[in-house]
């Protein structure tokens, strides 16, 4: 196609390739991360499918209230005489689904708003960010309580409430990262090419801010779980008869001195879930950061 000649093509002496990839296996290098990864999988499996292994119905009154652990009731019974183990096996799904959905929803909106603000530094940025500031001014629990009072308790309210609580801070972190990225040549090239805004945001910019966003993910999932648990504990989330770890803690706390397992069982599950989520998310963020292409400085 061209007659420009070079004595030799750069092929011969190109540097040894060092591929960019997400190093999932190497991410789990330390024993703690390995253990947490396994723990997270186990907890997810328990939360989603544990109910099929439950020995009793979670709502049936099987024995006297607060009976201690025995051969029949491995973790004893709760304040109504229901099997604690069965309620623990049933009770994870609501936390996991509500927290997961809310966090995902929060990221969908937070990323979009943050990227748009960081890319489009105009009145749109100012409007979006001031709106976020207003939302940030509400304490999270208070916001959800007000929402619950207005819209009524329930899973949908919880999901929306937790998502709204997360959106402003996600948007701010994303915007800061997007501001850095938006001045790069590849974003300008996309603008000059006339790419659609959604392509510029999600194709050009998003992949380059994944590491600060991932660093933020761990604490956020944890906060979601704790918010779900907290609101359920206060009795403003799911209604009491349904098996839920947080509700179980609330219901049985009066019997803490008599039958500690009725509280400790579900509480330990919540604690374990938040802990392993955090460790795994942090390891993911570190792995992404390590792979961040380090740009050679020009002369």
């Amino acid at each position: 196609m061209t007659s420009v000649d070079l004595a030799r093509s750069p092929d011969d002496v190109a540097p040894a390739p060092r591929r960019f990839r997400l190093r999932w296996p190497s991410m789990a290098r330390t024993p703690l991360v390995k253990l947490s990864l396994v723990g997270l999988l186990v907890l997810i499996l328990i939360a989603l499918f544990g109910r099929y292994a439950a020995p009793y119905s979670p709502t049936a009154l099987e024995s006297v209230p607060y009976s201690p652990p025995s051969r029949h009731f491995l973790l004893g019974t709760d304040f109504l005489g229901r099997d604690v183990l069965s309620r623990v096996l049933y009770g994870g799904r609501s936390v996991l689904v509500v927290a997961g959905t809310a966090t995902t929803l929060a990221y969908v909106f937070g990323l979009t708003i943050g990227l748009l603000s960081g890319f489009n530094r105009s009145w749109l940025d100012a409007t979006l960010m001031r709106t976020m500031d207003v939302l940030l001014a509400f304490p999270p629990i208070l916001f959800i309580l007000v929402l619950a009072a207005g819209a009524g308790a329930g899973a949908t309210m919880l999901i929306v409430g937790i998502a709204v609580v997360h959106v402003p801070s996600i948007a701010r972190v994303v915007r800061a990262a997007a501001l850095d990225v938006s001045v790069h040549g590849y974003v300008e090239a996309a603008v000059a090419r006339g790419d659609a805004t959604r392509h510029i945001l999600f194709r050009e910019m998003l992949p380059n801010i994944s590491s600060p966003v991932a660093a933020d993910l761990g604490p956020r999932v944890t906060i979601s779980i704790l918010l779900v648990a907290g609101v359920n504990f206060l009795g403003l989330g799911l209604a009491p008869p349904s098996p839920d770890w947080a509700i179980a803690v609330a219901e049985n706390r009066s019997g803490l001195g008599i039958q500690v397992w009725a509280v400790l069982g579900p509480a330990a599950m919540i604690a374990a879930l938040t802990f392993v989520t955090n460790v795994v998310a942090d390891a993911t963020a570190r792995s992404l950061g390590r792979n961040e292409t380090r740009e050679a400085t020009p002369l």
Partner: protein
């Protein structure tokens, strides 16, 4: 003066055990200026720091000796080294803006070092500060002493850094790329300064640079480094007229000249040592055109040739003379062809909410004929990049019009038709930044073709290999990410991305300024080939007059948003009419225009093979 520098077997290794500086020997008599020239990754800065007995974190001085006036710098305690740095040897880093403490006033900045190394009283110290500033021709009034570094110009900052380096009267000063970030006029002043200080103070200078022409302006003897080794050392006249090492020869042939329009010849391939990778035998062999069998496993030694030249090559007798040819310039092409790009009364401004409104282009008008290459030359702040951004639709102008192929272009890229966006492709200054690090090269090329020509992804993917071939990259480059490519390879990939759109006009904004000179030459060669073979029109924006001479048919000189002069490239460069152009041309260093040229005319003829 006793500032004689003797370096023996200086070897600096990184943690992995690889030598990034391999057994370097240097000898500089007191009061002389030695130039060290090399491209990125050659180890020249590492040597420069090594002269202070210092190695950057991650590297360590493994062996060798550095003696300044007989005082050893290697294997000495840190405390001892600290007291010698500043008084025996000092260092001027590349970027004065980051080297000076931004929160310290000029007077304090100089006094700090004096206070550390001497026990002068306050009055004597002030006298010493003023003396220092006077020596580098900076103002000495109180107002100046109270300024902060950011209130100085780039040239003043660099003078200040040099002044501080000289303030405790060291025997040796290491200057590491002291003019790289500066405009040519400022660079010329700094080069004068170094020459003058060398002559006046008797201080020994080591001048490190990638720019052979700048080094030639100050140094009598030059050492050429490649992959951590000195490959050739000789008097500058000998070096540029009769380079004996093939690398030096390639380097000399790559240097553009603004007086004579030269056809440049780059060195193919990528430098060893950029990634710390070393090979057995000769480090240059993969890029060498005169490689022989011995080069593969026998490392050549630095051997004396004649009385005062050294070369590290098995086959240096075979190195042909530098043949530099003048290139053909198509100044007449314009007459036949219609205008492709017409810029009329373009006015562009930079507004900030509080700051003043800066006019980046004031009623700029020019035309580019189809198939022509026009250079827009100006110093930083001249508005040349803003004009490129206006043409590309990234910076809406406040007045005037831009017409491409008879159609008037909107100020914002997205408002232009797909056809218009396809026809005009912008290539950015920094190849390290204009490719998305998270997309493979193939993905970038395919996307460009898909977006601008509407071809299906499958078809675009089939074109990738051919596109890469056009810019002389191997087909396997498509699967790589930008971080895996060298600067030159990335710039080729960016050009390929532009070509994927089948453009009519390429707007090249300082596309070679981030590249090494041998790579720059290869990219210019490539662009000229593309212009010829694909009948492309090029608007080439640069600050480098030598590059202008080597690529452009016509040139426009821009200062503060105003076009001062335009015309065919040879006419403007050889017979500039405007004062500013004359000043620029006088300031630009030339390879064959050295202070100590025994027979300039002869030099000229051999260099250009007339």
């Amino acid at each position: 003066m006793t500032g004689e520098l003797t370096v023996r077997g200086l070897t600096i290794e990184v943690a992995s055990g690889a030598n990034i500086v391999d057994s370097v020997d240097l000898h500089v008599p007191a009061g002389a200026v030695l130039g060290i020239v090399g491209e990125s990754g050659s180890g020249k800065s590492t040597v420069g720091l090594g002269l202070l007995g210092f190695a950057k974190p991650g590297a360590r001085i493994a062996a060798g000796s550095v003696q300044i006036g007989g005082v050893e710098m290697i294997g000495v305690s840190d405390q001892e080294l600290r007291s010698r740095r500043g008084t025996l040897v000092s260092y001027v880093p590349q970027d004065p803006a980051t080297a000076l403490n931004p929160s310290m006033r000029v007077g304090e900045q100089v006094a700090e070092l004096v206070r550390y190394h001497t026990s002068l009283g306050e009055r004597a110290r002030l006298a010493s500060v003023i003396d220092t500033l006077r020596r580098v021709q900076l103002p000495t009034d109180v107002a100046f002493l109270r300024r902060y570094p950011h209130q100085l110009s780039g040239g003043q900052q660099q003078r200040l850094a040099i002044g501080i380096a000289l303030s405790c009267s060291p025997d040796l000063v290491v200057l590491d790329e002291p003019t790289t970030g500066l405009d040519v006029v400022t660079q010329a002043h700094i080069l004068d300064e170094v020459r003058r200080l060398g002559a006046e103070t008797g201080v020994t200078f080591v001048y490190i640079s990638h720019d052979l022409a700048a080094v030639a302006a100050v140094a009598a003897v030059v050492a050429v480094m490649y992959a951590g080794e000195i490959v050739e050392e000789a008097a500058i006249d000998v070096l540029v007229t009769q380079p004996r090492h093939p690398y030096t020869r390639g380097l000399v042939a790559s240097v553009p000249d603004h007086v004579t329009a030269l056809a440049l010849k780059g060195i193919p391939g990528v430098a060893v040592g950029v990634g710390g990778r070393r090979i057995t035998g000769c480090q240059f062999r993969d890029r060498c055109v005169q490689r022989i069998g011995r080069c593969d496993d026998h490392k050549p030694l630095l051997e004396p040739v004649g009385s005062d030249a050294w070369v590290r090559c098995h086959a240096f007798e075979n190195t042909p003379r530098v043949e530099v040819h003048e290139r053909e310039i198509n100044a007449e092409r314009r007459n036949g062809a219609a205008s492709l790009l017409v810029v009329e009364d373009l006015r562009a401004e930079h507004r900030s909410p509080r700051g003043p409104c800066v006019v980046a282009a004031a009623d700029v008008s020019f035309e580019i004929a189809s198939g022509e290459c026009v250079a827009l030359v100006g110093e930083s702040g001249s508005g040349k990049s803003t004009i490129a951004r206006c043409i590309a639709g990234l910076h809406p102008p406040v007045g005037g019009s831009i017409t491409l192929g008879g159609e008037r272009l909107e100020g914002i890229a997205r408002k232009r038709s797909k056809q218009q966006r396809r026809a005009l492709q912008l290539i950015f200054q920094n190849p390290y930044d204009s490719l998305n690090p998270r997309h493979t090269i193939e993905s970038s090329l395919v996307w460009s073709a898909k977006q601008l020509r509407g071809v299906p992804a499958e078809e675009a993917r089939r074109e990738v290999a051919e596109l890469l071939n056009t810019v002389q990259l191997p087909a396997r480059t498509g699967a790589l990410y930008p971080a895996e490519l060298s600067g030159g390879e990335r710039q080729r990939a960016v050009i390929a991305r532009a070509l994927a759109a089948h453009p009519d006009l390429l707007v090249c904004d300082e596309v070679t300024s981030a590249l090494d000179v041998s790579v720059q030459a290869a990219v210019i060669e490539l662009l000229l080939g593309l212009q010829r073979d694909l009948d492309l029109t090029i608007l080439f924006i640069t600050h480098d007059l030598g590059v202008v001479a080597s690529i452009a048919d016509r040139v426009l000189v821009l200062e503060r948003g105003v076009v001062l002069e335009q015309g065919p490239v040879t006419q403007v460069l050889n017979h500039p009419v405007d004062v500013y152009t004359q000043r620029l041309i006088a300031a630009a260093p030339r390879l064959n225009d050295r202070p100590i040229a025994p027979a300039p005319r002869v030099v000229n003829e051999t260099l250009h093979g007339v």
